[in-house]
Structure formats: C-alpha cells, structure tokens
Amino acid sequence: MNDTLLLILVVTIFILAIFVGLEVIAKVPATLHTPLMSATNAIHGVIVVGGFLILARAEALPMYIIGTLAVLFGTLNVVGGYVVTDRMLEMFKTKKRSITK
C-alpha cells in the first residue's frame, strides 16, 4: 500500500471515530454526566498501547525512563478510570433495587 492511500485510511478512521463519538453521547441524561465523563476518561487510557510499543524498543536510559513512565501513567489512568466509574455506577444499581422494593 502506498503512502497516500495509507494516509487516507488513517484519516478516515480518525474522522469516523470522531463522528461516532459525537453521535453516541447526544441524549444522555444529566444524572449520567459524571459517570460518563469518568468512563470516557478510562477509554483514553488506551494510550498504554502506545506506551507498550515505545517501551518495547527502548535502548538507552532516558528512553527507558520515558517509556516506563508512559506505561505507568497510562495504566493508572485506565485502571483508576474503570474502578472509579464502576463505583459510581454501582450506586445506580442500589437505586434500582430500592425501586423494586
């Protein structure tokens, strides 16, 4: 595949992802704003993938440091993000049970 085609492909993926992101949130109730922010917060922690890729080819001390920190920060973002979101949403579950009571 040549450069131009690859570039078009990459830009296409990015733009489509943006449009999906815009569409999927449109009608969310205010109650869910905070959990949703937290949930999307966890998703951008996917940068850990980038951290893995760079750390895998690090060869000098500064690069090891940068790569290790990138993986560490990204992992904190991912794991903390999911745990926090789950705790918030757990609360909604309690509510649901009290409705059925």
Partner: protein, 487 residues
C-alpha cells in the same frame, strides 16, 4: 519509500492481525458508550469497555516489529521487566485508591487520572520525537505535525488537570486566581507555542530537542495559567474539557504510531468529551467561553448591599428548625455543594428517615448541577441509600413547591437564587433554578452569608418566608435530628 517503514521504525504499521484485535476493542468502546446513555445498562457498558481495553492491550503484544515477529518474541528481558513492572504498579496504584476514595472526592480523582493520561500521551510523543531525532530522521509531515500537536495538548491536559485536582482537593484556593495582564501573558505563551511548533516543523531534519523541551515547558505553563482563573464550581466543566483534550491528543498519538487503537479510542473520547462539556455548560446556562474566560466567582463587592436592600436575614437555631419541621406535613430537601463538601448525605438520610417516621412527606429536589458535577448529587444520595423515588428533578419538583410547608436548603445557593428568574444584570440570569421561595417556609443551612460560586448575593436569604440556620450542613442536620427525637 514506504511510509510504514519511515514512520514506524519498529515496523509498526497498519493492517496486521493486531489491528483486528483493536477493531474488536473499538467496537466494545462504542457499544459501552451507547449502553451508558441509560442508568440501567450503564454499569454493564463500563464492563464491556474494560473488556475492550484488555483486548486492545493484549493484542499489542502480537503487534509486528521490524523483523516481522510479534512484539512479545523480540522483547528484551529488561524492556519486558519494565513494561510488566510499570503495568502492575499502575494496576495496584489505580485500583486501590479508586476503591478507597470517598464518593465526594470522585471529581478530583477523575481530574488526576485524566492528567496522568495526558502525561502519558505527552511522554509517548516525546519519545517518538527524541527517537527520530537520535536516528537523524525526519518523519513524514503528517506524523511530525501529529507529534507536535499531541505533545502540546497532552502536556496542557496534564498540568491543567493537576491544577483542577489541586483546586477540588483544596490544596489550592478554589476561587479564581486573577492577576493583571493575565490574558496578555496567556496570549504570549500561546503565541510562543505556535512559533516554536512552526520552527520545529519547518526545521525538519535534526529537529531540535532543546526547542521541543521549551515547547513542552510552554504547554505546561499554559495548562496551569488556563485553569487557575476558573472558579472551583466550574472545575467539572474544565475537567470534562481536559478529558476531551486528552482524547484528542491520544488520537494524534495514533497518527504518530500509526496505531488504530489510539486513533479510534482517542477520536471517540475527544468528540464525546466535547459534547459532554457542552451539555454541562447548557445545564448551567453558560457558554463554554464564559466558563473559561469570564473568571466567574470573583466577589463583586458592589452588588452586595443592593440585593439585600437593607433587610437582614432571620437566624434560627437548629432546635427552632426542628420545631418547624416537626409541625410540617410536606418537606423538600434541597442538597447542594455545601452538603457534598460536608459529606453530610448520611446525616441527611437519618434526618429524613426520622421525619418520615413522624408521618411527614419528604422529597429531595436535585438541581441538574447540584454538587460538584452534574449527576454527582444523585450518586452521593444513592450512596446514603436515599430511595430513588424520593429524588425529584427540577421540572418535576418546581410545581410542588407552593404546596410545600418547609424547604430545607442544605448548602445550595446559586441554584435557588430567585434573581435568576428576573434580574437581567445578574450573572446567573436565565439559569433554571429551584423555585424554593414559593414554599411556605424556607430554611437555608449555610456556613455564613457568603456568596455562591457565581459571586452574587442571594436575596432569598432576606425574604420574609426565609430563615437562616448558620453552621456546617453536617452539624446542623445532626442537631436538627436530635431536636426531632423529642417528638
């Protein structure tokens, strides 16, 4: 010349089996966001998102390297050890505080996590820049631009989120921090960033690592300076915006690494984060520009006396409030920021239970932006086991106020300020408010006569049907409950 080989020295390019895994991960993310539009399916959605994340991280180990072998086979022991070490420290370091932290402190936790994500993006891009520079290579234009953009946005998100965290954690003063010429300083730094970015990009071959470092320092400073003039009450909007920033920067990092997981994950969050930010602004009847640049929350001294027009508020003791409540039939509790800060939700539930046991009808009125973030109050009350059916949203409770005997406002201010209905000069004019003043009696529990976040006085406090009960929400509610024990 193949862009793949040029751009990704380790042979990391598009279209391999790992990308198929990323596609599955991306579908999980999208599905998750969709499920999160309803409280009933939201939790499941978050789990699906987590599964997608595990898949995306997992398949990265079969990502092809320069030799064409999966990444995991070519991994040197030291790199492997650092990777797994950082990963496991991150898991423990993220999960433990995530489980322990009090519900009331959630917003600052989200801010901190977002900052770390932004920092991670900036580090990945920094690595790519230094790496290319070491090899004396000039990456193709798209990647060079993406590197510069992701490092700028990621760094701003990092420093800005730390300031937001500091403000919410009360390590820094929550009030807007303004100084003379602030906007000029910000403009100069922003200009410096643009100039540096252009110089670095045009410089091309052997692009200067020193200049790149200065760029990072400038972006760091702009992140700080951009957030300090914004008041504590607007921090949720700021965090949401910075969340979107981190997403966008992660998407740009996807261009740098030619990685579909980052492209899709980043693009999704960048867009949905922005929409969420605008929704939050709408709930407060503010524009995003107003939140970011107006410095709302600065005390406007001159507006003070006029709102009160020489009237003084009546002050009741918690015991008096107890008597008032005991003689009421219908009570509405309006929890606000003050209750959230005092972490009084359990005491409030106790008091409400006591009232209910006395045959008094108790409802909660939850303003869309009550608490520290939209929806935060619902989470806090749910934590205290307040039954869902007692929570009323703005449009459902407002018609019920005229037939309410006592409204108990706990640490809320701007959301019950009647001036929002008619005073066009008020900064909060037009914001939907709870019409508590239409009730027979309004009890306002507050620490003092201080203004709310919008920095405006609240004439409700001197209304004939209003009484004030000074003290922290927690102490007041406890004393009221004790007073009720006599009945």
């Amino acid at each position: 010349m193949n862009l793949l080989a040029q751009a990704a020295p380790a042979g990391q390019g598009l279209l391999n089996w790992a990308d198929f895994g990323y596609l599955i991960g991306a579908v999980c993310f999208i599905l998750a966001l969709k499920l999160m539009n309803s409280p009933i399916t939201a939790r499941k959605g978050n789990w699906i998102s987590a599964v997608g994340m595990v898949i995306a991280l997992g398949v990265t180990f079969i990502y092809p390297t320069l030799t064409g072998d999966p990444l995991i086979l070519g991994l040197k022991p030291l790199n492997m050890a650092l990777m797994l070490g950082a990963f496991f420290v991150g898991i423990v370091g993220g999960a433990w505080p995530g489980r322990k932290i009090a519900m009331t402190n959630m917003p600052q936790m989200v801010a901190l996590l977002n900052g770390l994500g932004g920092g991670s993006v900036a580090l990945v891009s920094l690595y790519e820049f230094v790496d290319a520079s070491n090899r004396g290579e000039t990456p193709p234009a798209v990647q060079a631009i993406a590197t510069v953009l992701s490092v700028i946005i990621g760094t701003m998100s990092f420093s800005g989120s730390l300031i937001a965290f500091g403000k919410l954690q009360e390590l820094l003063p929550g009030r807007p921090f303004l100084f003379k010429g602030q906007k000029a300083v910000n403009a100069i730094i922003a200009l410096a960033i643009v100039v540096l970015a252009v110089v670095i990009l045009v410089g091309g071959q052997g692009a200067n690592v020193l200049l790149f470092s200065i760029l990072i320092v400038c972006a760091f400073a702009l992140g700080i300076l951009g957030v300090i003039p914004i008041g504590g009450a607007d921090m949720p909007v700021v965090i949401s915006l910075l969340n979107s920033f981190t997403g966008v920067s992660a998407g740009f990092a996807g261009f740098v690494l030619m990685n579909t997981a980052l492209l899709i994950g980043g693009g999704l969050v960048g867009a949905s984060g922005l929409i969420l930010t605008l929704l939050m602004c709408t709930a407060m009847n503010r524009t995003l520009a107003n939140v970011l640049f107006a410095g709302v929350g600065v005390v406007v001294a001159s507006s003070g006396p006029s709102a009160f027009a020489g009237r003084t508020p009546k002050s009741y003791s918690p015991e008096d409030v107890g008597i008032l409540l005991a003689n009421a039939e219908k009570v509405v509790i309006v929890p606000g920021y003050g209750m959230a800060v005092a972490q009084a939700q359990h005491q409030v539930k106790e008091m409400a239970d006591k009232l209910a046991s006395m045959g008094i009808d108790v409802k909660y009125a939850v303003h869309p932006v009550a608490g520290r973030m939209p929806g935060h109050m619902n989470v806090l009350l749910a934590e205290a086991d307040v039954p869902y059916e007692q929570l009323y949203e703005l449009e459902d409770i407002n018609p019920l106020f005229p037939e309410t005997d006592v409204v108990l406002v706990l640490g809320a201010n701007d959301v019950v300020n009647p001036a929002a209905r008619y005073d066009k000069s008020s900064p909060i004019y037009g914001m939907p408010i709870l019409d508590v003043d239409k009730a027979k009696t309004v009890v306002v529990s507050k620490r003092g006569m201080g203004v709310g976040f919008a920095g405006v006085d609240n004439e409700l406090f001197v209304y004939d049907n209003t009484v004030m009960c000074f003290g922290s929400a927690k102490a007041t509610v406890q004393k009221v409950t004790q007073a009720l024990e006599k009945y």
